[in-house]
Structure formats: structure tokens, C-alpha cells
């Protein structure tokens, strides 16, 4: 697994505000890396620093070991969707992609290919000012894919999409990673990244809170609790406690068991001739894991509500 993007000690101030603060992380090829944090945490600033649009006050970013501005054909190394609305409203979709293609000596055939790829071939001649957010997002993704780059950055790509669009983009992101590309996707909602992200970079107040694999995060948090539903709560409780489990009753017909695997619980219950209506292992949701992870940052959310950016 090779490192596609490496950020080291990135720091960026705007006036007195520290937008990004000593941030270090990496993005690997073949994985979807979720870039998560509340609004105003510094995600978009970090994306601009990666693309060399803003200059860091300290630290650096390397794209496959190079500085961004030294890339010979940036569109063929990094594709980015920063802001889907950032097109000239009077320019046709195809013309927008064409000027971008020309800037890196890419062919007009490639323009038609990416329009096809995002399902926008029919809208190629339309002016972008009339596009819905979903269409603008697709055009932005087409632009990011122009140079067939091994690294892709998407800033809040799911924001504002309809359910069809959300499903489309989730599948696309997984496919891009499966093709071996490094995909960095930012979101202020951890739930959006559930089932997409392999890796998480969590930031708050411009600082790194954690970089962790999603599976490691979930397994470290799930402590093996099993839920049992039965009409014979007292009897089952006694049987399982007798086998060394810690059992708590959560309602008149439900128990939460830790210390025993589901298979063992089922066997014990039937050995005692008791009835079992439902048995399932508790699964940690990414959202819950995120809340645990960012407990320290909750203070920040409460302190400065509704801050945008």
C-alpha cells in the first residue's frame, strides 16, 4: 500500500484564526479515506493546502513525494472536486471540461468519455447555470476524472444530493478505490461515510483527533455485547450468569449479555430448555464510534454552535 498524500505539520492561519493546526496525516492508495470533522474544522482549508491553492504557514504536503506545483500534469496526478458550483454559469458543460482538458494537453475525446462516465452525455451542450446541484456534482466529478488520476479529492460530495445521487456516488467512490486509487472524501457527517470509508482522518479545530482504520475503530469499540430477547428473563439470566457471563436486564423481555459468544448463549438456553425469541450481537455504528472519538471536541461544538465553513 503506497502513500499518495502525506501532510506533515500543516499549519494555516487567516488573520488571528488558526484554521489548520500542526496537522499530519496520510492518504493511501486503494482506500477510501474519510476526512471528518464538524463544519469549520479545517477540512476545506486542508484540501486547498493539498492542491497548492493556499500556502501553509508551516509544514508541507507531498503528492507521491512531490510538491503539488512541481507536478508536470496535475490533472493526471490529482483530481479534485472542491466546489461543484464553481463553473461559469454561461458556459456549456462540455466547454467547461474542454478548457480544463486543454490546460493539461488532454484530448477532447477524453472529455466525451468522462461525460459518459458520469451520465452527463445528454447535458453536454447545456449551460451550467441551469444545473441542479446533483448535475453540478456530476460535472465536478467528471472534471476530477479528466486526467484519470490515481488520487482523488472530494470535498463534501454527498452534501445536498438526492437519494439516487447519494447511492451513485457511494458506489463510484468504492469503485475508484477498488481500482487502486487513493480517494479522500470529506464530510461533516460520519454517518455519510459508513460503508464507504476504509480509513478515517478525524479533525476538530484544525487539529488531528485521530487517524484510524474503520474496522480497527469498530472492533476496538464493540466489546462483544449480545442482546437476548426471551419471555423467561429471570431463568435465562440465571443460566447465563451461571456460565460466567455478565447479564443486565434492559426491559421485561430483553437482556444484554457480555462475556459469552452468541453461539454459546444459544446452546446454554436450549440446554436449560428455555425459550429464545431473538439473539443478536450488538454492532457499534460509525456514528457512535465517532462520538466516542471526538468526546473532547464536543466542548467545541457546544461552545460555538452553527459555525459554518
Amino acid at each position: 500500500m503506497s502513500t499518495a498524500i502525506e501532510a506533515h505539520d500543516l499549519t494555516k492561519r487567516y488573520g488571528r484564526t488558526v484554521a489548520v493546526d500542526a496537522l499530519s496525516f496520510r492518504v493511501d492508495a486503494g482506500r477510501v479515506t474519510g476526512f471528518v470533522g464538524p463544519n469549520g474544522a479545517g477540512k476545506s482549508t486542508t484540501m486547498r493546502l493539498i492542491l497548492g491553492l493556499d500556502a501553509p504557514d508551516r509544514g508541507h504536503v507531498r503528492i507521491g513525494g512531490c510538491r503539488y506545483r512541481d507536478l508536470r500534469a496535475p490533472l493526471c496526478e490529482v483530481g479534485a472536486l472542491l466546489d461543484a458550483g464553481a463553473t461559469h454559469p454561461g458556459r456549456r458543460a462540455r466547454s467547461h471540461l474542454l478548457w480544463l482538458a486543454r490546460s493539461n494537453r488532454l484530448s477532447s475525446r477524453r472529455v466525451d468519455e468522462v461525460l459518459e462516465l458520469v451520465g452527463m452525455a445528454d447535458a453536454a451542450r447545456r449551460r451550467t447555470g441551469g444545473f441542479s446541484l446533483g448535475m453540478a456534482q456530476r460535472l465536478g466529478i467528471a472534471a476530477a476524472m479528466l486526467g484519470d488520476p490515481p488520487i482523488l479529492l472530494f470535498d463534501e460530495p454527498i452534501n445536498g444530493l438526492d437519494p439516487d445521487g447519494i447511492r451513485w456516488i457511494r458506489v463510484l467512490l468504492r469503485e475508484l478505490a477498488a481500482e487502486g486509487r487513493a480517494v479522500l472524501v470529506s464530510s461533516h457527517l460520519m454517518g455519510e461515510l459508513e460503508g464507504i470509508a476504509d480509513e478515517l482522518v478525524v479533525i476538530g479545530r484544525g487539529r488531528l483527533i485521530a487517524q484510524t482504520g474503520v474496522s480497527e475503530l469498530l472492533s476496538s469499540r464493540a466489546d462483544g455485547r449480545v442482546h437476548v430477547r426471551t419471555p423467561q428473563v429471570t431463568e435465562v439470566m440465571a443460566a447465563l450468569a451461571g456460565a460466567g457471563a455478565t447479564v443486565t436486564s434492559t426491559s421485561s423481555d430483553e437482556l444484554v449479555v457480555s462475556g459469552l459468544e452468541p453461539e454459546r448463549i444459544a446452546a446454554l438456553v436450549s440446554e436449560h430448555g428455555l425459550r429464545l425469541d431473538e439473539l443478536y450481537r450488538e454492532r457499534a455504528s460509525l456514528e457512535d464510534a465517532f462520538i466516542d472519538l471526538t468526546r473532547d471536541a464536543v466542548e467545541y461544538v457546544a461552545e460555538r454552535p452553527g459555525r459554518q465553513g
Binding site: L71, A73, G85, P89, R91, W99
Partner: protein, 276 residues
């Protein structure tokens, strides 16, 4: 990193690519065509109105009148120039207002290359259309002036583009428009805001002309010589008149070129130094 090849051609983001890219940008927005049509249309319209409305009498073949009929026929340029300025400002500020500039700079990290190639595209197109416009103004203006009595019998020998002074005035009027576009693009790149940039450009062009009317002569003269329009007017002068701008055409050209070149150099300097 691997060298990317798509369709057999090695991709790269250098100056030739930026030039082609800027040309696609320029020709694929409607405002370009509209502005260029306005530049030509308004110039020809005002030349027609001004020359069609003037007449002379009392002159004779042996008694040359003192009107500068070449300069008069090119007067429409001073009205059409606003379209050239707005076009050039929008070529850069529309990228900032739509935030498309970030896509541009991500695709071509060499920002000075972007601005320089944009300047080449905008200036050369405005220059080309400007030359055609000033030639058209000249032809139409001369015809209307002849009709109004500015002819051989009235003391005005016919002038054509084969005449050295006429050709120089027509060419320099087109060059003026190209340099004005360069200046406007530079202002747009420095302030990055459409309304602010247009205001600054129009104020630079028009304010000295307005002020000249109110100032005593000792203050008005430097204003005439070192203002964009005053220097521009001197490039069209072909006849010695007391109200002429006291500049040779070459000196006027130097002043106008300085506005364009200095502003662009400042823009090139700042564009690489700040966040996009």
C-alpha cells in the same frame, strides 16, 4: 509518479497548454461575443452620429480647413472602449466570482503562466477587433464627412488608409484598445472583484477627461499628457491645432503602453503571492 499518457500524448501543463485553455475559456462564454459586437457597434454608431452631424462651409481648395478629419472620424472609439474594458475585466474577475479560479490554478499551478497567457488571448483578440473597428470607423466617418462638406471643394483633400497619417491613426486606435484591455485585465487580476475593477478602470479612463474641463491650464496639461485617454487622443492627431494634446503619437503610445504593462507586471507579481 508515473508519466501520465492519455491517447498517446504525454500530458503536461505548460504555457502552450495554458494558452489553448485560455482561448477555449474566452470563446465559450457569450459575454465575449456580445462585448466585441458592442465594441464595434458602439464605436461605429458614435462615429456615424458625430461625423454625420457635422458640416462645414466657406472653405475652398486653396484654403485648407483646420479640422482634423482623421481624428474626428475615429471619435467613436472613445465610446466603444468601455466594452473592451468590461470584456477584459470579466475575463479574470468572473473566474474569481465563480471560484472557478481554483480549478484553473489546480490544473495549472504556474499562476503567472495563466495570467500571461490570458493577457495574450484577451489583448490580441481586442487588438484584432479594435483594428477592424477603427478601420471601419475611419471609412464610414470619412464618407459621412465628405457628404457634410469636408471635401476637396470645401478645403479638405480626400484621405484614405493609403495616407501615412491616416493609417498610423487607425492602427494606433486599435493598439490603444488592445492596451486598454491589457490594463483592464491587470486591474481585474489585482482587485479580483468585477464591480470594483470596472469602477477603477472607468474612473482611470474618464475622470481625467472630466477633470480637465474644470482645471486651470497648468494643471490640465499634465493630466492631458499622462492620462490614458489624453495619451490615446494624441495617437490619433494628424493636424496641428491649438487644442491638441501636447504629445507626439509615439509619446502617447508610450504612456498608454505603460498603463497596460505596469499594471500587468503588478498583477503578475501579486497573483503568485497570495492564496487563491
Amino acid at each position: 509518479m508515473s508519466t501520465a499518457t492519455l491517447g498517446g500524448v504525454v500530458a503536461r501543463a505548460g504555457a502552450p497548454q495554458a494558452l489553448r485553455s485560455e482561448w477555449v475559456k474566452f470563446r465559450t462564454v457569450r459575454s465575449t461575443v456580445w462585448s466585441l459586437l458592442l465594441l464595434a457597434g458602439v464605436s461605429i454608431l458614435f462615429t456615424s452620429v458625430l461625423t454625420g452631424g457635422s458640416s462645414t462651409e466657406g472653405g475652398s481648395p486653396g484654403n485648407r480647413g483646420d479640422n482634423d478629419i482623421i481624428l474626428d472620424s475615429l471619435a467613436g472609439i472613445w465610446f466603444g472602449q468601455i466594452a473592451a474594458a468590461v470584456l477584459a475585466v470579466l475575463a479574470i474577475t468572473s473566474e474569481y466570482s465563480t471560484r472557478m479560479i481554483r480549478t484553473t490554478f489546480a490544473a495549472t499551478p504556474r499562476r503567472r503562466t495563466v495570467l500571461a497567457t490570458k493577457a495574450v488571448v484577451v489583448t490580441s483578440i481586442v487588438l484584432t477587433v479594435g483594428l477592424a473597428t477603427s478601420a471601419a470607423c475611419f471609412q464610414i466617418g470619412q464618407w459621412l464627412l465628405r457628404e457634410g462638406g469636408f471635401n476637396y471643394e470645401g478645403g479638405y483633400p480626400a484621405v484614405t488608409l493609403a495616407d501615412g497619417d491616416a493609417l498610423r491613426a487607425v492602427v494606433l486606435s486599435g493598439v490603444y484598445l488592445g492596451l486598454l484591455a491589457l490594463f483592464s485585465l491587470g486591474v481585474g487580476a489585482i482587485v479580483r472583484h468585477t464591480a470594483a475593477a470596472i469602477t477603477i478602470v472607468l474612473a482611470t479612463v474618464l475622470a481625467p477627461v472630466i477633470a480637465m474641463g474644470f482645471l486651470p491650464e497648468n494643471l490640465a496639461e499634465p493630466l492631458e499628457k499622462f492620462s490614458l485617454m489624453g495619451a490615446g487622443l494624441s495617437m490619433q492627431q494628424t493636424f496641428d491645432r491649438p487644442d491638441n494634446i501636447p504629445l507626439e503619437p509615439a509619446q502617447g503610445l508610450a504612456v498608454v503602453a505603460s498603463y497596460g504593462v505596469v499594471t500587468l507586471l503588478v498583477a503578475l507579481w501579486v497573483i503568485g503571492r497570495r492564496d487563491a
